[in-house]
């Protein structure tokens, strides 16, 4: 069986779920990073607006 390389996006995929615990952990890391990035962006947008 050939191994595939996964590109993880916040949307996730069935393939990630099928990877089991590793897939879920990695996906949640990406979701968390994305969320943090968005919050950071939101924060910085607010700061720019204040200025």
């Amino acid at each position: 069986m050939e191994k595939e390389e996964y590109i993880i996006t916040p949307q996730g995929s069935l393939g990630l779920l099928a990877l089991g615990h590793i897939g879920i952990q990695k996906w949640r890391d990406v979701v968390k990073a994305e969320k943090e990035k968005k919050e950071l962006l939101k924060e910085s947008t607010k700061n720019v607006e204040k200025k």
């Binding site: 069986m1 191994k3 996006t9 949307q11 996730g12 995929s13 069935l14 393939g15 779920l17 099928a18 990877l19 089991g20 615990h21 590793i22 897939g23 879920i24 952990q25």
Partner: protein
Amino acid sequence: MSKKNKFLLIGWDAADWKVIEPLIKQGKMPALESLIKEGVHGKLKTLDPPLSPMLWTSIATGFRADKHGIGGFVEPTPDGESLRPVSSTSRKVKAIWNIFNQEGLKSNVVAWWPTNPAEPINGVMVSNLYQLAHKPLGEPWDMPNGTVHPAELSETFKEFRVHPHEITLAMAIPFVPNIAHNKELRENPRTASVLKILANASSVHAASTYLIAETEWDFMAIYHDAIDHFSHTAMKFFPPRRPEIPEEDYENYHEVVEAAYRFHDMMLFRKLELIDEDTTVMIISDHGFYSDHQRPLFIPQEPSGPAVEHSPYGIFVLKGPGIRKNQVISGASVIDITPTILHYFGLAVGKDMEGKVLHQCFENPSVPTFIESWENVSGNDGMHNEILREDPWAAQEALQQLVELGYIDAIEDGKLSQVEDAKRENKYYVARNMLNGGRIEGALEILEGIFSESKKLRYGQRLAFAYLSRKQYSKCSYIIEELRELNKENVETSKSQNDDFNNHEMEEPMYLDYMEGLLLLAINKPRKALPLLQKVQLKNPNNLQIASNIGKIHLERKQYEAAEKQYITALAIDNTSPIAHYGLGMSFLRRSMLNEALEEFLLSLELDFYFPNVHYHLGETLFKLGNFEDATKAFEVAIRLAPGMTKAHKWLVEIYSNQLNLPEKANKSQDFLKNNIVGEIIICTGIVHCDYENFFSIFHELNLPFISTESLSAASSNLHQSSYFLKDYIGKLIFIPSHRLSFLPPELNYKLLVFTKPEVELIDSIVKNNIKNQKENLVSDTVVKLIRNEETKIETWISTIAGLKVLLLNSEELNNNKSEQIEILTEFLNIESNVK
């Protein structure tokens, strides 16, 4: 014991070859395909009733429900006031992981039915309540008490759970593609169910991959309920669309089932990546799921009603070192799994276990060793020693899921009668399971109890079936009558209450006709059975059993073309029915269409090898084709499967002596025949005062070799001392009073004619006779008791003689339609062995 390689057992509830095979052909299940190519596979026969908690416990223990203690989906709480999902503490015997525990092997068990609270085994157990979400995403999502053993791993496993609200559009689209552009569809409860099942399956898989990769283990059992749940949710939309299914629903949900199977294959692929080549892998399902024209059009409004969607064969795949490659096996049952795995590990099989070792899977099969019972073996088995309390919220959630799937009714607060109903229902399942296993006596006791308490039609139907199986024909007949009366009352009540007439209970008369048809078939009245069964068939054109039974009637009546038609109908319903292939083969054989017959018998054996009659008739066909050597092989197999099959021995004597000139080989069968008297004695009996003379005069009219009561009386009165004289009566009709039947030696071959009379007339005759003879004046209640007593004597004897053919002759029918009755009698007596 010697250390074996690891063993991975994966359960896919309700997985069915009829869905899998086309997907494999299209290359859509490559992981399963690889296992099939490198191992053995076949169908796995389920048990009745096909209910998951009961079946997965049988799989893990090798016992049926009456022994293992898991009857249904729910059980009363310890206070008896409400219901909870069935728990691990109710299992009465050791599961395979408990046996391994005692033998020093490490097991991991994930989500197996029912394993909450998790058992303290030498390994890890994650219970069947693990994956269920009972709070919205974002709120604390605790696990119920006892979900994980050892408890210190609970935090680790918490993180592997996927909440249904976490499922993204990208994950859901393969199941419901239209949600990509239809926002309303995302809110649809059916879509929500799909997402929930997907999340649960992902949770179970994640816990499994962690355990496979990160822990030491010898045996691992993982249970996925998702295929069953996806199928109950969406199999009705599986292609091809049936006219009753709304087009819009079909468009939205027709890909759910295929996506479910493909997702399971993806999960399997991952599991296979994580194990080494030396790990043995077994994939099984507890039952199948109708996916074609056999899909029921409605679900009965009764507990466990959705089980009508379950089909009787699940899947079995086994691959590993020492396992045969690319082979199809037959004759496997869910009850065989534990004995087979124990044998794989070199452990003894419990003699009290009902299953067998599936030798046919092994490249070099070895003789299994046996132990009286694993239950008597002491040591740390990792079972519970006290009942643990569980989180009521989690239990409630599990119940809710069962309610949503239609397995149980919604529970109303304070409704204690529901607990009583559930207890009776559990007993009903156990009784069905016992009936299915041939333990009819025990089943009868339970069914008589619950039917007299509740008068539920379903219980009465099974009771009638149990009486029929026990050859208690008059009791069966009384119950059918009672059920017809009960049903009339129910219909009246429903009409007066304007109940929905689409209720399953309204279908009962059909079922009762069917039961009556089977009863008539059992008492050798096929021509009376035929119109009843045909009537039932008109309403149930997709019922395999009805078509097969009608086919059987035509075969018995030598109407071979009509039989062929019925068996072709049966095969159109299910082309994997070994009985239908056999029946079709018989219709060809009796018309000397030998090549056609040969093909059908071979197909039948491919589907079920353990079918002695098919081997026998295959032998007969091969003989007629001049293939004597293969014919002897077929007869030898028939004898191995049914050692008392006299007719197969006769053929072997004929072939070895006269065709192959191997007299020394004929000796074995010759000896058997010498020691087993060949030929039948036709026993006539009946209840007193049922006009014997009428029947005797018919015998004389037909010039039948009837031995009169007078000439027999001296000898028959000494039956209890000597029965040797009976050998002189082979091929003749003799009268034996009902109270002397039990003295007849069981080693002789018999047919039985029972003389009967309508009960009212019988009572009248007995009362009049007593008055005439100046005996006590009997009241009718006492007479009824006398009649029942006589009937019981006859039925008790019938039940002790295996394969006894019985014909009930009724004096009223004889008076009303003598020629028809004579024809029935002649047909019955003319059933002859086909051996020269």
